[in-house]
Symmetry: C2
Subunit: 234 residues, 2 copies
């Protein structure tokens, strides 16, 4: 079944934009009468029929609507320092979307080699993964923000920070959180957070976590957190 | 600390090959007297001192040897159908090496779009991840093999298969395995195993597993298995 991402859907009819229409008619070669699925990114999963195959504006008639489609039983927000090689963060976004994530915030830290992020491009990666993995909820990608400013913004939920500084206080996520909550996890850049940044977070109530003995790259650490939180909420 | 992969190390002195020597002297600019670490891929972790900085053959004197360095408490073998886009399997190999894996076998299935694999290139990806994540054990990459032939080879351990065919009998890995064992997990291609292939595996004693409700790409499914088996063996 073919999936289209239609965040602006409001009624029982919908018209695909020119790019999607062309893809629908010229690439997928779907005829009038064919059934497709739509996701609105807010939990809505639609079954629709093609009523016009105009390659510039394909018309769809909604036959069935499901709300809160595969609604998640927890909320995971990961704030991660973008990697120098942007492919690595794009890869993380694709995989996290497949596995399940709700919100991502790129944070700019003292040791961040990359200080600029093209949110539009990263959002395209997420949307593509949303369609590929048939998710009715589209993860939220926030604008990048300096780490200190982020810590001073209104942040909710169980707060955790992953860092590499030796610290007896570190615990596994499974020891730190309870299921079905809202979680916010901080992941540092290549080279880790600075001790000052870690202390700043600890003073804000973040708990230090360990992901085990492996030395993980930034994007691997972020995905490990995503896996572990989802695993604990099965 | 800089790491070199030295699978052929046998004595208390070692000479880096021309490529590594050049990297050591010209790129890392390490002088005589500098300390480096070596891993032999079989659990040996060495501390060595540079005794000659000849950019074609750097000589090292071994100062300290640790054996069974970070030895794993279980053995994970994943047999996975290589993806059409080889980047995806290379990505899996890098991440699985970071997280912990012991053996990988590329399997060629009925629906495999990719039937040829360059093992040399994939091994380079693994070796690079071994050094980056400081692993003394180098995962074994077997030559690719047709699925049926693989099932008829001598395979050991707890045997699991991940497939997408609706099947009441599927269970989570945590319900199927006990810790500290040897595990072999089969992961299918884009488009999944055929029903015949699944039945063939079930008849060989493989247990069907579920990775949850998410629709995962081949490489994401393989990495999820890696995450989960390692998690259950913490």
């Amino acid at each position: 079944m073919h999936i289209f991402y239609t965040p602006d859907i409001t009624q029982n009819i919908y018209t695909l934009n020119e790019e999607e229409s062309k893809h629908c008619v010229r690439v997928l070669r779907l005829p009038v009468g064919a059934l497709v699925n739509l996701v609105d990114g807010r939990g809505g999963f639609y079954t629709a029929e093609i009523t016009s195959d105009n390659p510039k504006k394909v018309s769809l008639s909604i036959l069935k609507v499901e709300t809160e489609f595969h609604k998640r039983n927890h909320y995971l927000h990961i704030a991660v320092a973008p990697t120098k090689n942007i492919d690595r963060i794009e890869w993380f976004l694709e995989k996290a979307t497949e596995l399940g994530i709700d919100e991502i915030t790129p944070i700019i830290t003292d040791r961040s080699e990359r200080r600029v992020v093209k949110e539009d491009r990263l959002n395209k990666v997420i949307t593509s993964a949303v369609k590929q993995s048939i998710k009715a909820y589209h993860p939220i990608l926030n604008e990048s923000i300096p780490f200190n400013k982020f810590l001073n913004s209104s942040i909710e939920g169980e707060k955790l920070i992953a860092h590499c500084i030796d610290n007896q206080g570190k615990k596994y996520i499974s020891e730190l959180v309870i299921p079905h909550q809202k979680y916010l996890v901080l992941i540092g850049p290549e080279g880790d957070f600075t001790p000052e940044e870690v202390n700043l977070a600890l003073n804000k109530g973040f708990k230090p976590l360990t992901l085990g003995d492996n030395r993980l790259r930034t994007e691997t650490a972020a995905l490990s957190v995503c896996f572990e939180i989802n695993y604990l909420n099965r």
